[in-house]
């Protein structure tokens, strides 16, 4: 049985219990699905539990209720989910090349066929950081670091690429460049992407669909389809209208 979705998040719920404090409900009954090859952005007021949702999907945080289901019916969990974090997530003691190769050297993938060197170089080129293969992360600009982090995540051929505010530490120009890189990668590989962002412009530029959450605790407020063909023009009136709409939803 084949299903069109890559990932289904079903009524997940998360409560944090700070010691001595009242339990704080971070995520309440969130349900959505991500289709195959789709780019989905999760948005919501800051501190609403967006990152917690991503972490639960990636298996980094246990959930109190609900399920996350992959297309084959199993729990979508590492290593089928690869994560790109906000920043400073590259291993600083390894070169960019070694960082990208890291996932291939782990025991779970030891017996896979194919030359790891070719795979690594392929992904470095795909993410346009091949020129910096021998560099250390601290020698790279923020944008290049994020490209390397994306290459490291993609190299294990994940079913879904999960990104937690990947642009948050970048200046606007670098941000746009990186977004184009991500769109190119998505077009070439067909990877399903789920990302958290707090910028309406980023979301409307890259996403096929935006899932807007309410704050404290997080619930799905609205799902917005972004119908514009790519490449999208950020100066297009329809684009701007959509951006303003998303912005209004975010602040209301």
């Amino acid at each position: 049985m084949t299903q069109s979705f890559t990932l289904r998040v079903d009524h997940i719920r998360k409560q944090f219990c700070e010691r001595g404090d009242l339990p704080c409900l971070a995520v309440e009954d969130v349900t959505f699905s991500v289709d195959h090859g789709e780019i989905v952005c999760i948005m919501g007021p800051s501190g609403c539990g967006k990152s917690t949702i991503l972490r639960m999907i990636a298996g980094l945080e246990p959930m109190d209720a609900g399920t996350v289901v992959a297309a084959d019916g199993t729990h979508a969990f590492s290593p089928t989910t690869a994560v790109v974090f906000q920043e400073h997530a590259l291993f600083p003691w390894l070169s960019v090349y070694e960082n990208v190769k890291y996932g291939l050297d782990l025991a779970v993938r030891k017996k896979r066929e194919g030359d790891p060197h070719t795979t690594v170089m392929e992904h470095l080129r795909l993410c346009q950081v091949d020129a910096f293969a021998g560099s250390r992360p601290y020698q790279l600009s923020g944008g290049m670091r994020q490209r390397a982090a994306i290459a490291r995540a993609l190299v294990v051929k994940p079913d879904i690429l999960v990104m937690d505010e990947p642009f948050s530490s970048l200046d606007p120009r670098t941000r746009l460049e990186l977004e184009d890189v991500i769109l190119t990668i998505q077009k070439k590989t067909g990877t399903t992407i789920l990302m958290v962002t707090h910028s309406p412009e980023d979301a409307v530029y890259v996403a096929d669909r935006i899932i807007m959450l309410t704050g404290h605790p997080a619930r799905v407020k609205e799902e917005i389809s972004v119908p514009f063909p790519r490449p999208r023009d950020i100066a297009d009136p329809a684009f701007i209208t959509m951006r303003l709409h998303v912005n209004r939803l975010l602040s209301s």
């Binding site: 990636a58 980094l60 600083p92 782990l106």
Partner: protein, 259 residues
Amino acid sequence: MGRNRNISPWWGIAIPVVVIIVWEVCAVAINNSFILPRLGQIIPVLFHPFEDQIGCGSLAENAVISLKRVLTGFFLAVAIAVPLGMLMGRYQPVFVLFNPFFQLLRPVPPLAWMPLAIAWLQIGAGSMIFIIFLGAFFPLLLATLDGVRGVRNTWCEVAESLGATKFEMFTTVVLPGAMPVIWNGCRIAFGIAWMCVVAAEMLPGTSEGLGFLIMYAYNLGQIQIIVAGMVIIGIIGIGVDCIFRAVDKTYLSWRALER
């Protein structure tokens, strides 16, 4: 506010040179080689490191014996303190279990263990290695704990999401991530271990090693051998420290550069 002018590193030689000159002047003035031997007596001893001194073997021989003891005790300490420190740093129950015990033992000077060490392991290399082990163990353990705490959670989560096992997490993320701090701990621990061996060898019952040679030379009134022995101890200490620093600069500089 005036800026301090930088001077050439060669100025670092100035004070040792002055001390040597003052030493020689005082030695000439006092004219008693049992109190202050002249350079002319010390330097020949240093220039013949492979010659037998006062029937206890050469400086080099004794230095090698001391160094072997230090390395044995030091590596034992590394082998136990680093894995244990990593487990304590990563798993709270392990920390809670072991920490009070180690905090209790830590303030005890390593040499205070000597009587017990002799009672348990007899006079000789075994008890000395035990003392060195204790001297190196605590700084290593503390450095490892500190290093593990500095390992970014994000690094671990990246590894976890890529499918790393618990063991791989330790070998590919926690250890390399904590390595610069652990390495610095090794450097300090080795310095302490080196001090411990010389002190332990000075205690009664030993028959070889630099500490023993110094003590034996004292009993025979051969002050120039004492001074030569001290110089050798210092040189070996500096040499090892240089190796530690060179490795740090070549392989572990990422920590400083990474902000």
